[in-house]
């Protein structure tokens, strides 16, 4: 047996070595699998690119919670989006940002335990049109976004589906895409309708402005009761933006905005700033 190994060349030895380690990994995997039954899953609420969200009940306190399960936690250790989300949520403590209760591992998969709210902004806008409440919601969202920007964190996935409403107070969720500001970042973030023009043109040195663009779109959606730009592709989206916003006083010529208050329009205009757009067009 020994002679065979000596005669074989280095690459074969390397392959044997690798297979042995893989077998070791598999054995460890099955030895250390354990059951954790603190939370009982009731139903599936949503599914994203990074994981599945369940509605679940805590056995000990009988509280309803939301469980966020991450896919791909087997091959690469803890997934990077999970790492970023947990560390960022641990750092943030604000009434309008969701609180992370704990993180647990069930069947070798990482789960986040968070408070459960059953209504998001899109659903809320279908039934509630009271001006006082809407103003309050806009104000609170702005405060929450200011709070995270103060900590050098960009949310990068602001959209009405990621804003939950409870008792007419907004709660910001889903920090899976958010990260600390850095000189180089991926351009493919945010849902298409709320994506800023600098992201649409594949720029990777953006900053807080992309969150402000999404916020502007959300505020306009609250006011108009429908999304401002509904593009079907990146080029279509850019075209829509170019058609609606032409010049600094675009809102005066737009019939959609006729019924709105002046201050309100100013707010939208500040959020949807034109600086980047002019660079693209010229």
């Amino acid at each position: 047996m020994q002679i065979v190994i000596i005669n074989s060349n280095a690459t074969e030895l390397y392959v044997i070595h690798k297979i042995l380690y893989q077998i070791k990994d598999i054995i460890y995997y099955y030895m250390s699998a354990s059951e954790n039954v603190r939370y009982i899953k009731i139903q599936k609420i949503g599914e994203g690119a990074y994981g599945i969200i369940y509605k679940a009940q805590d056995v000990q306190t009988e509280e309803i919670v939301a469980l966020k399960k991450f896919k791909l936690s087997d091959n690469e250790g803890v997934p990077s989006c999970a790492l970023r989300e947990i560390s960022i949520l641990n750092q943030l403590n604000h009434p309008n940002i969701i609180k992370l209760i704990s993180q647990i591992i069930i069947n070798k998969k990482l789960h986040l335990v968070m408070n459960y709210y059953d209504m998001d902004l899109t659903e809320y806008l279908k039934f509630n049109h009271e001006e006082f409440h809407l103003k309050n919601i806009i104000y609170k969202i702005l405060l929450a976004v200011e709070f995270i920007h103060n900590r050098k964190i960009i949310h990068r996935d602001l959209q009405p589906n990621n804003i939950l409403i409870t008792n007419n107070e907004p709660v910001l969720i889903d920090f899976g895409l958010s990260r600390v500001l850095s000189p180089n970042m991926t351009p493919g973030v945010t849902q298409l309708w709320y994506r800023a023009p600098e992201l649409l043109s594949n720029c990777n040195t953006y900053d807080y402005a992309i969150d402000m663009w999404s916020l502007g779109c959300i505020i306009a959606e609250i006011a108009l009761n429908k999304p401002l730009f509904m593009g079907s592709s990146e080029i279509h989206q850019l075209l829509l933006i170019k058609n609606i916003i032409n010049g600094n006083e675009w809102f005066l010529h737009n019939s959609q905005f006729a019924k709105l208050n002046n201050l309100f329009i100013d707010l939208i205009n500040v959020c949807i700033s034109l600086e980047f757009l002019e660079i693209i067009i010229s």
Binding site: Y14, H17, K18, Y21, K24, D25, Y28, Y29, N75, E76, G77, V78, S80, L83, R84, I86, S87, I88, N90, Q91, Q103, H149, N150, R151, K152, R179, V180, S182, P183, N184, M185, T186, N204, Y208
Partner: protein, 159 residues
């Protein structure tokens, strides 16, 4: 923008990293060698930013400070490799995958299971608080305050 608030949060989130080797049987020199090796690794790898290196070193210090286990000189290699793995996940666009970590960085000395176990250990010891401000962020803030706001052109070129 946001300068004052940023400074407040930097002060608030600061964690103490001094005397991290007090409870362990690790030499100062072996830690220094580890840091030196990390500089080489990040120097060769094109896609990382500066902050990844600082994050990796600070994660290592924070773990050594908070853990209850006692480590010796021979363990620091595994620790350093795992810290690079975690820091790269947090900071980079395209992070090191586990294959490169095992084959290129650790020359098949460790298995994937060992690295994942160490990673879990580090994250649970730090209670997943991996987003603390690194040395680099304080330096950048100071740099901006000293040189960035000046009207003088020569001072601005330093920044």
């Amino acid at each position: 923008c946001y300068n004052k608030e940023l400074f407040d949060s930097l002060i608030q989130d600061r964690i103490d990293l001094g005397c991290s080797l007090a409870n362990h049987k690790i030499n100062d020199t072996s830690r220094a060698l580890m840091v030196d090796w990390m500089i080489q690794v990040f120097g060769c790898h094109q896609l990382t930013t500066q902050n990844t290196f600082f994050r990796a070193v600070n994660l290592m210090d924070a773990y050594l400070k908070n853990t209850e286990q006692q480590y010796t000189d021979s363990d620091i290699y595994l620790l350093g490799v795992t810290c690079i793995f975690i820091a790269s996940k947090i900071e980079d666009i395209k992070c090191f995958d586990i294959e490169t970590i095992i084959i290129v960085l650790s020359h098949n000395k460790f298995s994937a299971h060992q690295i994942k176990k160490m990673e879990k250990d580090i994250l649970e010891t730090l209670n997943y608080n991996t987003n603390f401000p690194t040395l680099n962020e304080y330096l950048q803030y100071l740099n901006f305050q000293l040189f960035g706001q000046s009207q003088n052109q020569f001072v601005q070129t330093i920044y």
